[in-house]
Each structure stands twice: as C-alpha cells, then as structure tokens.
Symmetry: C2
C-alpha cells in the first residue's frame, strides 16, 4: 500500500525522526529535505525508503553525526577532504558547494572526499550543482555487489556516475548506476509477479534471465552493456580512490560496516558561461534537447525524453498531489519520530 503525503507534512515527521536519532536541527532539516526530494522525484529507494536504514546506521555508529569534512590538502582547483564518516548527505553537499566555489575562481573545481558515508540518491549532487547554475559531474566508489564481466561472484561496486547540465527549463541529468537494474528494482518486479523488460542478470546455472528472483538468488546482477558497465565500474572505483587518496571498493568490502561506509566521492563543477554568453549556451542546449525530444518515436504515441525531463514532471506532480511513500515505510518513520529507535528495515534494499 502506498500513501500520498504532502511535502511539508513529510518534512515535519522526517525531521523529528532524524532529531530523535541524534542529528542536530540543521542536519535533520537538510537530510529531511534531500530524502523527501528524492522520493518526490520518483527515487523512493534512496528517498523516504532509506530513512530507517540511515537511522540504523547512526545507531550502530557506522555514521558519525559529529564527523565533518576536514580539508586535508589543496592545490589550485582541487581540494581533498576527509569526511570522518560523517553524514553522507551533508558531507557531499558541502563538497559540491566547495567545487562550485573553486569553479568560480578557476573555471573548473574538483573536490575529492574520502572516508565518507552513503550519499543516498547518486544524482542529488549533480542536480544540486545544475540548479545552482553549474555543470556538475560526480561519482563514488562502493562495496562489491556486482560481478565483473567474466566472473560469477560480486567483484565491483555498482558505482553511480552523474553528469548534470544546467538549463533554465530544467536540468538534463544523467544519474546512472553501472548495473542494468538495481537490486531494489528486481524486488519490485518480483513482488509484482513480473519478469524484467530485458535480461537483468544470470541465474544459478549461469544463464541470462529476466526472472528477478533468480537473479536475487544468484547475486549475479548484469552490468549495463555487459562488459561495458563492468569496465566502467572498476575504472570509476580506481579513479575515485586515486583522486581522493582514499579507500577502493575492496577496502570498503573489508571494513564490513554497511553500504558505502568509508567510500570516496568526487565532485567536479564547471562554469558553463566561461566562454559563451548565457544566452548563447542556453539556446544551444535548448536546440539540442528539442531535437532529441522530437526524433521519431518507435511506437505510436511514444515520446523521446532526455534524462531528467521526466523527473521534473514527477517532481511537479509530487509537489501538487503529495509524495508517494510505502505505508510500512511511513509507519516506521512515524514510529522513529515518536521515539521508537528499534529499527527493522522494511524498505526494499
């Protein structure tokens, strides 16, 4: 069962839950906004669904609410921070803001963050930069949950990669994990008794399958584009560790203290109006988007969208009609807000 909750009502409850779990008023407000915005954008898995697990991580000490980004080194357009296992969202917002400050000064700004925690929806920080008028690129390394191409055991993180293009009509945002489907999506299809639209992994016999349950059993989710997503995942892992002088995916595996705990994150901001006027650049981008959106659809009444365009529609609908949330998840958040910190994670992973 799903409920529809208006933004302000959701915010009051989530803030209270986060305050109860030990966050400061400012941390609770920022994190409530980011989680609720993700759900409002249609990304429930890392939005409201994730609140109970986040609270659980705080209780376990895997997220340190007193940890703040500490500048370790800097050179020119690059800064490197230690996140001290602080809150993933506030650490990442801080670093994306710093990347934009550096971009104002140097044209491009790059902030590399190590020892941080789960940043929730991958696209949040690229969206944030685009909404502030910058082009944003970001990625992360995570624990191994996907087999590399040619292997049958988890060997690399499903590391998301994001690029956001600022546009007055709404940013164009790539927010892309390296697997064809997230584990959460497999669960959604399985619970609905459906097969996947395309094969999403291997079964225990090593055959490609569109049966979500068979993939959950084998833990062999498929990299997007087979060898391509596998190659990109391992290179993003290495790039993040190198740039942040921090953990690689295997170090995160070995720490065994929750998803993304101790990971590296990269934030690159670029000033879009360095070389062209705002009018020129916006007109170029609009022409490109309009051309893409008006290519001939492959189905009658079909329509081609650029990444992020449908998100804006979902967001508008959520703001007017309320944000969709699973009833069990919402009851659990309300229980936390009422002071019950005994967490059982009822959300999909």
């Amino acid at each position: 069962m799903s409920l529809n909750i208006m933004y302000d009502e959701a915010k009051k409850t989530v803030e209270k839950a986060l305050l109860n779990s030990g966050l400061s008023p400012r941390q609770a407000e920022v994190c409530a906004d980011i989680h609720i915005q993700s759900s409002a954008d249609g990304v429930e898995s890392h939005g409201l669904n994730r609140i109970p697990r986040f609270v659980d991580y705080v209780q376990k000490g895997w997220v340190n609410v007193s940890g703040n980004p500490e500048l370790k080194c800097a050179k020119g357009a690059v800064e490197n921070y230690d996140g001290h296992l602080g809150i993933g969202i506030t650490n990442a917002l801080f670093c994306s803001d710093r990347a934009m400050e550096l971009a104002k000064e140097h044209g491009i700004g790059c902030v590399t963050l190590k020892n941080t925690t789960h940043w929730m929806r991958g696209g949040t920080y690229a969206w944030h930069m685009a909404e502030k008028g910058f082009m944003g690129i970001s990625w992360i390394n995570t624990e191994s949950c996907m087999p590399l191409w040619g292997s049958d055991e988890p060997g690399v993180g499903n590391n998301p990669f994001c690029i956001a293009i600022p546009r007055e009509e709404g940013p164009i945002v790539l927010d892309m994990a390296m697997s064809q489907y997230a584990y959460g999506k497999l669960g959604t299809y399985r619970l609905a008794g459906k097969t996947l639209p395309f094969p999403g992994g291997f079964d225990k016999d090593g055959d490609l399958t569109d049966d979500p349950g068979a993939i959950e059993d084998s833990m062999r989710i498929l990299p997007m584009g087979y060898w391509k997503g596998s190659g990109m995942a391992i290179v993003l892992d290495m790039a993040a560790a190198l740039m942040a002088n921090g953990n690689s995916g295997i170090d995160i595996d070995n720490a065994n203290s929750g998803s993304c705990t101790g990971c590296c994150q990269i934030f690159i901001a670029y000033d879009p109006y360095l070389f062209g006027s705002k009018e020129e650049i916006q007109s170029l981008l609009n022409a490109r988007v309009n051309a893409a959106d008006s290519t001939h659809p492959d189905k009658e009444e079909g329509h081609v969208y650029c990444p992020g365009e449908r998100t804006m529609n979902t967001r508008k609908k959520s703001m007017s009609d309320g944000i969709t949330v699973n009833e069990n998840v919402w009851n659990q958040i309300k229980a936390i807000a009422d002071g019950n910190l005994n967490i059982t994670d009822v959300s999909s992973k």
Copy 2:
C-alpha cells in the same frame, strides 16, 4: 586476408602516404604513429583501416592540414581552443598535452576544443595522458548515428567516453562508445556469417536482434544498456558543446561534411600524486586490479581482466610478431604512398 607488418616498415609506408596527401613531415610522422599504434593495440577500425578515409577527407578539404589549435579563451585551470578543422590527431594531442600542463599548475587541467575533426581511436588521448603519468578523462560529440531510446531513427552520436588510470604495470583504460556494438563490428560478424553474442540492435520490424545485417539495414544500433547508453550519449554531447562553446551533434549533422567534422572534444588531466605518494597510490591501484583479476571466473579456464590489460598483451604481440592489417587496406595505403590519391574506401566503417 590479413598481413602482419613490422612497426617500422608500416611507419615508412604510412608516413609516405600521408606526406603525399599533403601533411607536413612532422604531421605525417605523428599521425602514422597514432594510426599504427591503434592497429598494434588491436583497434584496426580506427588504425590502419582508417588511413584511406582520412586521406580522402584531406582531399575533400574536410580536414584542413593548415589548421592549428588557436587559444580562444582561458580561465584558471581551463583553456578553450578552436581547432580550425585541423588534423584531429594533432589537435587532440596538443590539447591533451596542454591539459597535463594545466594539471601540473592547478592540480586538474581541462582543455576544451571546438571545430576539430575525427580523433580516430577514442582512447588514444586518455592512454597518452596515463602514459605520461596523469589520470586522463576525455570525450567527444559526433554526428547522429544511433537512435535515442524510444526512437527508431538516428538521433544522437555514438560518443566515446574514456578514463585512463596511470599504472606502472600498464594503464587501466576505459575506452567506451555508447552503442553495444560499433557498426564496424556488425560488419565483421556479418562477413563471418555469425550472429552477435548478444542482441545489438533492432530489425526493421522493431524487434531486438542478434543478426548484424538486419541492424545495418535498419540503422537501429542498440545503445549499451538500452536507455542508459542513450542517456549518457545525449548528456556527453551537451556537455562537450557547452564546455567548448562549440557545435552540438545536430550542428555536425547539418554540416554534412564527414564523420566528426566540426566536433567538440574535452580533455581533463589530473595529477595522481597530489595527495598521496606515488608509492601509496600505485600500491592502492595494484591491489584493486589484482583483486579484480582474481575474482572467480564464470567459466573453467576463464579469467577476469581490467580494461586495458588485454590491450597491453595485444600491443606486445604486435611489436614482436608484426601488426595485423587487412590486405586490401594495406594495398590501398601502399598505392597512396606510390602517389595514387584516387581513394575508394575499402575499410569497414
């Protein structure tokens, strides 16, 4: 039929062919090296196979051998060049060298290039930066040759995206186009009478197929990861145009003067030893690569490789046993070297 030609012999012939087509001795030497190295690395499509078409483009005036990169604007760690439709390879090498110079000064360096021409193998410049000891990121926008997800007509470029990680034992290099298979690969499978290992596009009825000829007929190659490769392709196009203040893919379509003519290219270099010692960083990278390579294979006698590792093996073999080249292609290059500039492109696209 294929021949095996030793590097130095290949270089003499290719240099002569390029001199005949109007390149300066320095241009001919650099371009000969890059084309032959691509073939030596196993990427024949953009190596020796591409020489006749390149010479043809020069004859048609689509590549201007007198065009050189001109600095248009600069700010901090970013420089923007106009390539004046000069030789794609020399323009791109110049810009990747400049990106490394900027990285030395600012930690990160970003060079954006507009109005340039085909750079041949996408990975060349990221490989170049990694071999010089920098982490490199590069991408390009190209003419529309792939349908966006949800469309049945070409609407976006098959824009390659590359990341290279410097490593003493050999760089780890992602060199990834956005389609599951290149058109060249479809032709190879069709000529061999084989089906593709996985579906690579749609037939004229709109059904996913592994029949390479059916995809060549429909021109509906499949983006890697379906909607994912489509989304990444359009965002890379916009990012390149925005950063270089240059053409988007649709402008390149409209110019109708050959593949990539007038495109934008982005070169980002990062100093890998900004925050960690060379020893620490190399040890981190080696541990990551070794862990990936030793994950359990999905087939008996299988082996997992990181991207670039097999390329190094192919390169070594080519340097000792000679470089594989299609006999028709080689005869055509020899004819150009003998002064016959009447080009019929016999290579696969």
